[in-house]
């Protein structure tokens, strides 16, 4: 698909008055040509500092420091800064005559009129209106879903719900039979993991099996209802959502700054799922929560938190060019919004027409018009002294103040004196800074270098102090913030950019929505960005995609793969639905049930399809290797969170309380470096103190698991001949912060710092937090084996698991039974029983007799956890 560009060559000076043009041509251009083009133009082939000064657009865009010229504002114009020898010295080695400098000042103040414009009049797309019309009318995903008539089936006695009829009908057409029901304990295990992400307890297995034997349908329905009422449901299903929305608590990329308030969004999502907030409401809150009408401040607060959805994407905060940065942020927001909710890859049309779908480049810029009129909040607010960006973090941003205060217990507050002294320190440092600035011109050589270093050090200190002051109010109490977006005043349209390049603007595009989904062009008021409208439009029953996409996701999490396997792509290159009528039916029901997620979960989980066995059938597999027809249940490997939570649950150590905030919140706004958050010295000191406390707290044997030192001699953790913990241990703890090996809460609450995800999640294919992940990978690696064999967390959980068993029985046969019941939900087979019995006998730990049985049992428990069966739900 080619683009036609119509280029009208330069010198459209119709906006400039004669005087302005004259001024420019006589006083400005010659200077630029003579003094600047040598290093800052295309002709010369030099672009020092990323700055070109040979066109109006490029001059306004500027270089690595910022815009060379801000019309009307010499103070903000880096060109002016440089020629007056403030932060830069231009031309190098000399200063322009004062008259020239004054001319430039005057020129900027008059608005910097500049005729050096290349007008590209219009980019024409090769996707015609007819193309779009055709796609709109004929492509399956763009038709509003309609209620279907239930298909006829032969085996009426098998079906229980409508879902079963749709599935069975297709199976019968292909001559296949659905698999038998799974065993009761298998069904319960599946339900437990799917709905709450935890294994069932032995008592639950017993009562379920008893109920199942009387009335399987009732047993399943009761269990589903019970599980849906728990808070663990929200924790499990929120994590699926967080995968999709690229939830993370840091910017990622080369300069990784924290998002200390991202956790509010996480909790918001968990609560939404637990409250079964109508999905259409959920959608609107995330896209335009700041604009939705509210009746209470609390609601307003929640809605604001919801807009974190738009703010938590990865960001390149050391992007030097602010225009580029803004374009990238908007791009990321558009990409997330369209792929998460609509399964459309509109962001592919940033540089050219979409190559496959009927989405012209103009559609992308229509959405840019909607998204550029917001301010995104993801950083740290300035203090009264201003904002200080770090050396690397060039792109600043503030935060939104929450209407309802909700500080963390660990947020810092200051007394009046502390506050005053901080401010004093700030003022003093600023003074110091100003003085060194003044002295700068006079120093040379190593003095200059020292001065440079000092300036940087001082700047960092200023940034720190300012950061601390910024987040407390006048009385020194912490302010509550959230990330998110707010609407800007005076919304404007944007220009289409040729090939997506910021210095190649073409025609202006009206704010709007993708045409292929709108039978009429959408009308957006002049004083509105259109974002609220977009939110409502996406969350409406008239949108053909939204319900289908979400229904598909819910199906995927219960059945193992989506009806449409390409969960973020419902376009031409996506996969067709395996059961289009079923998808439509579920979509309609979803919308009519007030967009209730729990209702749909219940519907699927109580179906006959859901409780099939996963038995392999070679013939069926030949015919349908992907199980698209759902002739059996899909055996699935558990995701990382479920594996960790299951270990904690089985060991009995799991803590169901929601931890407040997150590790990232505790660390505050800081750079992530070396795998730690914030000042490594503080972290080292705290780790040391913790280790010292452990030493003091360590009591007799049996209160703590004993570990062996590398030399094989036993030593109690935390003590080493009275000299304090070993350096290895301290070093380990210093870098332990983000793995949180000792945490006992549910995995959804682990800190998700981009590029530093906790090991327990990473090793089992945790979602890449910088990407929109609809479906996780499921790998099998030696790394996983090593983790299960050697990781401290696993070993420690195994030991607790063993202790739990010893509290129930001390007879090996019973212990084995109980271990299997806890770990796998069933009794061992005879083969397994004999293998484990011989293991218990043969395994000879070298600990003292008293702990021998626990150690052996722990090793057994670890083996059960490490084996494949623990990771798979059949």
């Amino acid at each position: 698909m080619l683009l036609c560009a119509v280029i009208a060559p330069a010198a459209h000076s119709d906006e400039l008055t004669r005087d302005e043009l004259n001024f420019f041509e006589t006083k400005i251009r010659p200077v630029l040509v003579r003094e600047c083009y040598g290093c800052h133009s295309n002709k010369a082939g030099n672009v020092r500092g990323g700055l070109r000064l040979d066109s109006k657009e490029l001059t306004h865009i500027g270089g690595s420091s910022g815009p060379a010229v801000v019309p009307g504002n010499p103070e903000e114009s880096w060109l002016y800064n440089a020629i007056t020898h403030q932060d830069y010295v231009m031309p190098p080695k000399r200063k322009l005559p004062q008259q020239v400098i004054d001319d430039f000042r005057k020129w900027i103040e008059m608005g910097a009129p500049d005729p050096r414009v290349t007008n590209i009049a219009e980019i024409r797309s090769s996707i015609t209106a007819d193309d779009i019309q055709q796609a709109r009318e004929s492509f399956w995903a763009y038709q509003i879903p309609v209620r279907q008539s239930l298909p006829q089936v032969e085996n009426n006695s098998w079906t229980r719900t409508d879902i079963d009829r749709f599935i069975l009908s297709k199976l019968e057409t292909s001559g296949l039979q659905p698999a038998d029901d799974a065993e009761a304990w298998q069904v319960l295990r599946r339900l437990s993991f799917d709905i709450v992400g935890l294994p069932p307890a032995p008592e639950q297995i017993d009562s379920f099996t008893a109920a199942w034997n009387i009335d399987p349908d009732g047993a399943v329905a009761d269990t589903v209802d019970r599980l849906l009422k728990t808070e663990q449901f929200g924790e499990r299903w929120a994590r699926h959502w967080l995968d999709v929305v690229r939830y993370a608590e840091s910017t990622g990329r080369e300069v990784n700054m924290t998002y200390p308030h991202a956790w509010r969004y996480r909790d918001y999502v968990i609560d939404c799922f637990n409250d079964d907030k109508p999905f259409d409401q959920f959608v609107q809150e995330q896209i335009a929560g700041d604009l939705l009408p509210v009746s209470t401040d609390q609601q307003w607060s929640e809605n604001l938190v919801a807009t974190s959805f738009l703010a938590i994407g990865p960001k390149n905060v050391n992007e030097q060019n602010r225009v580029q940065f803004a374009a990238d942020v908007a791009d990321e927001q558009i990409d997330a919004t369209t792929r998460v909710f609509l399964g459309m890859s509109v962001a592919c049309a940033r540089c050219h027409d979409h190559k496959f779908d009927a989405i012209p480049q103009a559609d992308y810029y229509a959405l840019v018009g909607v998204f550029r009129n917001i301010t995104t909040y993801f950083g740290n607010p300035p203090s009264e002294f201003g904002a200080f960006s770090g050396v690397q973090s060039k792109r600043n941003s503030s935060l939104i103040r929450l209407p309802v205060g909700d500080p963390n217990p660990y947020d810092k507050s200051y007394s009046k004196q502390e506050l005053a002294s901080l401010k004093q320190e700030m003022t003093d440092k600023l003074q110091e800074m100003a003085e060194t600035r003044r002295n700068r011109g006079r120093s040379t050589g190593t003095d200059a270098k020292n001065a440079q270093r000092n300036r940087i050090r001082m700047n960092n200190e200023l940034a720190n102090l300012s950061g601390q002051l910024a987040v407390v109010d006048a009385s020194g109490n912490p302010i509550s913030y959230c990330m998110g977006v707010l609407e800007r005043d005076a919304p404007a349209n944007t220009k289409l950019l040729v090939r997506g390049e910021i210095d190649q603007p073409a025609q202006v595009v009206q704010r709007g929505f993708p045409q292929v989904l709108c039978s009429e062009p959408v009308e957006i008021e002049a004083d509105s960005s259109g974002r609220l409208q977009l939110a409502r439009w996406i969350a409406s029953k008239e949108n053909p995609l939204t319900a289908r996409v979400m229904v598909n996701r819910i199906w995927q999490h219960l059945i193992g793969q989506g009806i449409v396997t390409s969960t973020e792509n419902f376009g031409v290159t996506g996969h067709l639905p395996s059961h289009p009528e079923l998808l439509d039916q579920l979509a309609v029901q979803f919308m009519e049930s007030d967009w209730s997620v729990k209702t749909l979960v219940r519907e699927i989980a109580t179906s006959r399809v859901y409780r099939m066995k996963s038995t392999f059938n070679e013939q069926y597999h030949d015919y349908d290797p992907d199980n698209a027809l759902v002739w059996r249940a899909n055996p699935r490997r558990l995701d990382a969170e479920a594996i960790r939570d299951a270990m904690l649950s089985i060991s009995g150590e799991i803590d169901f309380d929601r931890p407040r905030g997150s590790e990232v919140a505790k660390a505050g706004y800081t750079r992530v470096q070396g795998g730690v958050l914030g000042n490594p010295r503080d972290i080292a000191r705290k780790a040391f103190e913790r280790a010292a406390n452990n030493t003091r707290a360590a009591s007799g044997p049996g209160s703590r698991p004993q570990f062996r030192g590398p030399a094989g001699r036993p030593f109690q953790r935390g003590r080493r001949g009275g000299m304090g913990p070993a350096p290895e241990e301290i070093a380990r703890q210093v870098t332990n912060q983000l793995d949180m090996e000792n945490a006992k809460f549910r995995s959804v609450y682990l800190p998700i710092v981009r590029d530093e995800e906790p090991r327990s999640l990473e090793v089992f294919d945790g979602a890449d937090s910088s990407a929109i992940i609809g479906q996780r990978e499921s790998s099998n690696t030696a790394t996983q084996a090593l983790y299960m064999m050697n990781n401290r967390f696993v070993i420690q959980q195994s030991t607790s698991f063993a202790r739990r068993i010893t509290e129930v029985s001390s007879i090996p046969a019973e212990q084995i039974d109980y271990a299997f019941l806890l770990a796998y939900g069933r009794k061992p087979t005879s083969g397994e029983r004999s293998a484990t019995s011989s293991f218990l006998r043969a395994f000879s730990p070298s600990a003292s007799y008293r702990s021998r049985s626990v150690e052996t049992l722990a090793a057994l428990c670890q083996s059960l956890l490490a084996s494949a069966e623990f990771r798979y739900v059949n």
């Binding site: 392999f616 290797p625 710092v753 499921s778 790394t783 084996a785 064999m789 293991f839 395994f843 000879s844």
Partner: protein
């Protein structure tokens, strides 16, 4: 979620090595006695290369600034480019190098000294203009589907020489790139193992002794104890496989435990470079300065292949300079130029270069036209990769792009051709190295690919 689909013609234990049914070589019969899917196998025909070191330059280094000399680009600097924009000549000077007279720029002065070992493939092409797609295509042959990676295919075809190590190692792989070293429908044991944590921030490994591979050692158990534990685990796993009759995931688990157990000793030994001489470290630049990090990785790569690992991939980047090219490309190059040259030298000295194929390249190149003054956009229509050792000619230039470097015009080498050639050097016929999956025979090159015979010495 992908379950590996394998149609079992001879459904017995269902172990992954039955996949060899797809390997049509005379020596397949020899393999039937072996139960280790990683055991070394003979190639289809005599191989020129026994192992591969793939230096993946993530982000797309600019070919017109490094290995694709375009005098016309210098002359036409500032003029309009064929596909828009204005042409930007290279800030670096090209010179002729070595006896062969290959033109290589000053961006890679040390590698340039090894010009007589290199074959430049200056007519590369791929189909994807964006990073994820192009990286995936570079590694797996396609961006549309999930397919096994080049390393996995190599391993499938040849096994590995050292069964205590993974046969395919990705050192410091960027995060989220599992697909690029994954095995997809091939048995899981052929997938790449990540070692080190490149692309992610620095995280200290866990495990009692804090080695470079996390959890490489058990803090409490002796080796005999651990072996007993693993025996139990495997017994449970075996029973499960028998029960389920078809469960590729569990087979993967079984294989992974055996490998993991052996890795515990083999890996720390490999990662310990303390016995390397100072001269060696200096040669790689692994002792100081900006070359320290990549230098150490190249050194490790040599150690790994020396120890018998079949396919080692290193990643270095990002080369994605849409802006600030003249500065940032230089920084990237400085960090890897000496190490790569050192690697070639070291291999030569150990007489390993002749059967070690070293591959260098990014997922695409960059446009001859400027982007914003001092940057270049992606260019997948024409770019350069090079190879050294393992049977390729030295000091040789293959293929050409147009006068500015936009697209390949002569002896085009699409990714499929590139893959076919690499497999060929390893002694594998890309059309015969197939695997039956979902009803048909799949191969790395799908239905494409021609070996670039001209580059073979």
């Amino acid at each position: 979620m992908f379950s590996r689909r394998q149609i079992l013609k001879n459904a017995s234990a269902g172990f992954g090595y039955l996949a060899f049914a797809g390997l049509s070589t005379a020596s397949a019969a020899q393999q039937s006695g072996s139960t280790n899917p990683l055991a070394a196998k003979a190639p289809h025909f005599p191989a020129r290369a026994k192992r591969v070191i793939f230096l993946c330059m993530q982000g797309g280094p600019s070919h017109v600034d490094s290995f694709d000399y375009k005098p016309q680009l210098i002359k036409d600097h500032g003029k309009g480019g064929k596909y828009g924009g204005s042409l930007l000549k290279s800030p670096w000077t090209f010179r002729q190098r070595g006896n062969s007279g290959l033109w290589i720029s000053d961006l890679f002065p040390n590698v340039a000294e090894q010009a007589d070992e290199l074959t430049l493939i200056r007519s590369m092409q791929c189909d994807q203009p964006v990073h994820p797609g192009a990286m995936t295509q570079m590694h797996t042959g396609t961006a549309q589907f999930i397919r096994p990676s080049l390393g996995a295919w190599s391993l499938y075809g040849l096994g590995t020489e050292n069964d205590s190590l993974p046969g395919f190692v990705s050192l410091n792989a960027p995060s989220g790139s599992s697909r690029n070293y994954g095995s997809s429908f091939l048995p899981a044991i052929y997938g790449g193992s990540k070692i080190g944590r490149g692309g992610r921030g620095s995280r200290s490994p866990r495990g009692g002794s804090g080695e470079s591979v996390p959890d490489i050692k058990n803090p409490t158990l002796s080796q005999q104890q651990q072996r007993k534990q693993i025996n139990l685990i495997q017994a449970l796993n075996q029973e499960k496989v028998r029960r389920d009759r078809y469960q590729p995931g569990v087979e993967g688990v079984i294989e992974s435990f055996e490998l993991a157990f052996r890795m515990q000793d083999a890996i720390p030994e490999l990662m310990d470079t303390s016995k390397e001489s100072q001269a060696t470290l200096a040669m790689y630049g692994a002792d100081s300065g900006p070359t320290n990090s990549f230098g150490k990785q190249c050194l490790l790569a040599r150690r790994f292949v020396e120890a018998g690992v079949r396919f080692v991939e290193l990643t270095h980047g990002s080369w994605d300079q849409h802006a600030n090219l003249s500065v940032d490309h230089k920084t990237r190059a400085e960090a890897c130029d000496k190490p790569i040259a050192g690697l070639l030298q070291d291999l030569k000295q150990r007489d390993m270069l002749k059967d070690t194929l070293v591959i260098w390249g990014g997922e695409f190149g960059r446009t001859p036209a400027a982007q914003g003054g001092d940057g270049r956009n992606h260019n997948n229509r024409g770019y350069t990769t090079w190879m050294a050792g393992g049977g390729v000619k030295g000091g040789f230039s293959y293929g050409a792009t147009d006068e500015h470097g936009y697209e390949s015009v002569e002896n085009k080498c699409h990714i499929h051709d590139w893959h076919a050639t690499i497999l060929h050097l390893l002694g594998l016929d890309h059309e015969q190295l197939t695997y039956r999956y979902a009803g048909r025979d799949f191969r790395l090159t799908d239905v494409h690919g021609n070996v670039a015979n001209d580059i073979i010495a």
